[in-house]
């Protein structure tokens, strides 16, 4: 897969150097995350890339509308608004991928605690009614 990605990137650089330059800079954080993310499937890099790509669509359209030249690409890269938006989106993606598991875990724990409490009440009632083990181990 890696060689295919390399081939595609090489082809892009050879065939559309302005696009490659623009995307390379705008998706810089995503490329950096892909290099640093060691988890299988690189979930953080994936999220950062998706957010970065969403923010890069408009500048890419502007490059192609303006003739798809290296100066146009350089001009777009020189626009701090374009670069800031793309990198801010990448940062938002990173933030989301870090915060979402924590929120999900908190939710799951709350559900488990509530279920355990309900089960303990049911257990105590059964044990009392049927003369069964009233303690139930270390639950």
């Amino acid at each position: 897969m890696v060689w295919l990605q390399g081939l595609l990137c090489g082809a892009l650089v050879m065939l559309a150097p302005p696009t490659a330059l623009l995307m390379g800079v705008l998706l810089g954080p995503a490329i950096l995350a892909a290099l640093l993310d060691g988890q299988p499937g690189r979930p953080k890099a994936r999220s950062i890339a998706l957010f970065g790509m969403a923010a890069s669509v408009d500048p890419l359209r502007a490059l192609w509308v303006s003739g798809h030249t290296m100066p146009a690409a350089a001009a777009l890269l020189g626009n701090m608004h374009v670069l800031g938006t793309a990198w801010a989106a990448a940062a938002a993606g990173w933030l989301l991928v870090e915060a979402a598991p924590v929120a999900v875990r908190a939710t799951l724990e709350a559900i488990s605690i509530s279920r355990a409490a309900r089960l303990r009440v049911m257990r105590a009632k059964l044990a009392e009614e049927w003369q069964l083990d009233p303690v139930g181990g270390d639950l």
Partner: protein, 663 residues
Amino acid sequence: MANPAPPRPGVALIADRYAVEMGRLLPPVGGLAAFAATDQTTGRTDLMAIRVQRHLPPRPRTLQALSTPIDGLLTPLAHGVTVAQSGSSEEACYVICLAPPGPNLLARPRPWPEAELLECVLRPAAQVLEQLRARGVTHRGIRIENVFQSRPGQPVVLGSAWAAPPTVGQPALFEPPYSAMCLLAGRGEGSIADDVYSLGVLLLCLGLDQAPLAHLDDAAIVRRKLEVGSYAALLGDQRLPPVIGDLVRGMLAEDPEHRPSPGLLLDPASARSRRVAARPPRRAQRAIPMAGVEIWDARSLAQALAVEPEAGVHALTSGAVIQWLRRSLGDALLAARLEDLVRHRALDSLPSDTNGDATLVMRAIAMIDPLAPLCWRGVLLWPDGIGTALAAAQATDADVSLRLQELIALELAGNWAAVRPERCDFAVVRAEARQHHAWLQLSGTGGGEARLCYLLNPLLPCSSKLMGGHWVIRLPELLLALEEAAGRADRKHVQPVDGNIAAFIAARSERRLDNELMALAGGAPDDEACMAQIRILAQLQSRHHKQALPGLAAWLAEQAGPVLATWRNRDSRASITERLQVLAHAGFLAPMLALVGDPVARDTDAREAQWASAELGRIDAELGQIAAGAGSRASLASRLGQEIAAGVGLAMLAIVLAAVAFG
């Protein structure tokens, strides 16, 4: 047997008919207290009531056989239980029989003339004995103070001997030596020949001017009779009228088969002519010391071995007895048989086997003197007296009771009979011995010695402490006694069916309740024992006592804790406990049994308890899963969070692309 009736002041009723007048004490009969009695139906007043002792039960077969009166005999009319004393709640058993028509023969001056002895004593007594023989029973109480005469010249009347086991109250003088040497309560019913012997002693006493052997104790009398023969021992150097002398000589023969039958005695002339040449005991050339006395003949040797079994073992195994028999007594055949016996003992068992030694002595005695009773470790008895001996020993002598149990457990009566088959019905004795052993072997609360004792003594009262002063012979009376005991017993800790009562029920219910009684055995779970107890008493109530027993029912309800605890559902348990109290108040045990033992309800309870248990297991498993699932939840949360982030990113990309495409 009648149920106790409410007594009038000073008067207690037997069989709802015979009034026992506690205030009018009569001379004791064979050591038993006697009271005046009247028949309230006919107004007859010439009756007496003999009070039975707890450990010496009356003779059931004789009481039944004598339901039709016999002239010349104080026949029993009824027997039953009533209060022991006026105003007391304690009960006693009485045998009602005719009162003596006059004083006993001790009151008459002696010696009696021959004609009066024949006409007033021998003929009437022989007639009575002949009728007893025809009915298959014996008297075993003929002695001078138990034979009565209304006035001189009238036929004598034989007294009562029904209110205690045979020969209780009978002195050794009037008993054949082989009966006198036995346990007092172990002499058995015997045979009519034993009554002929007692009648012979009576004739002899009346024919002499002084009582024979008055200076000797019972053991010495037995020894003397064995040494020289009963006739010679009793007569000594005195003389009897010739006819009486000849008759008495035959009647006092040591061998019962040599004594004339009662029928023959009805004709004294022919009885006199049928003289059996009773050989005097063969006397040895020199004595052998045994049990502190010098033995000169085989019968005395057998008796000494019986009385001193330990010394007997030594004398037998050392060869001293065999040598004495061969050289001094000149009985080589008996010596050879004994030698074989001792040799077999040495080969068959270990020297330390004390039962083997005791068996050797027992067989040796039976071999030396086939007329001798069964002798086991110093306990002498006739096999048909085992039941009464056991009853007496249980109350008075634990050591003898233990030896009797050994005797039964080893089926020694059969062993003893096998040595002297010509003297008894070997098959019957052996079968009875096996039956007794089987009963003794019955395990459990209602088995063993107590049950055997009740089985062998149908009129023996229940000896449980719970009976208090009650005299309980039959099962219906047991429930009444327990109802009263319920008022004073510690209901929480004392069971209404203790071991003794269980044995009594087992013996009187003819094995119908054996399964329930087995459940009462030690080791059974409390709830099963409790259920068995309720089941037994409920069955007894439904069979024998239709009235309510609220005290006993409340007692059982108190004891029902273990059974109630087996109901798993709390609400069911509470409901059953409440209903049980209501039923106990009503006093009927069958509905209580139906409530606590309801199989459908129990099945439902068990099934639901099983479901509850499974449900509890499921809950425990789920709680365990929750407790152990923190790691997996964290992993899931991480994965879900990343997927959510990716999903949001993808959605934003899609929205932007759509906006670019359409806008």
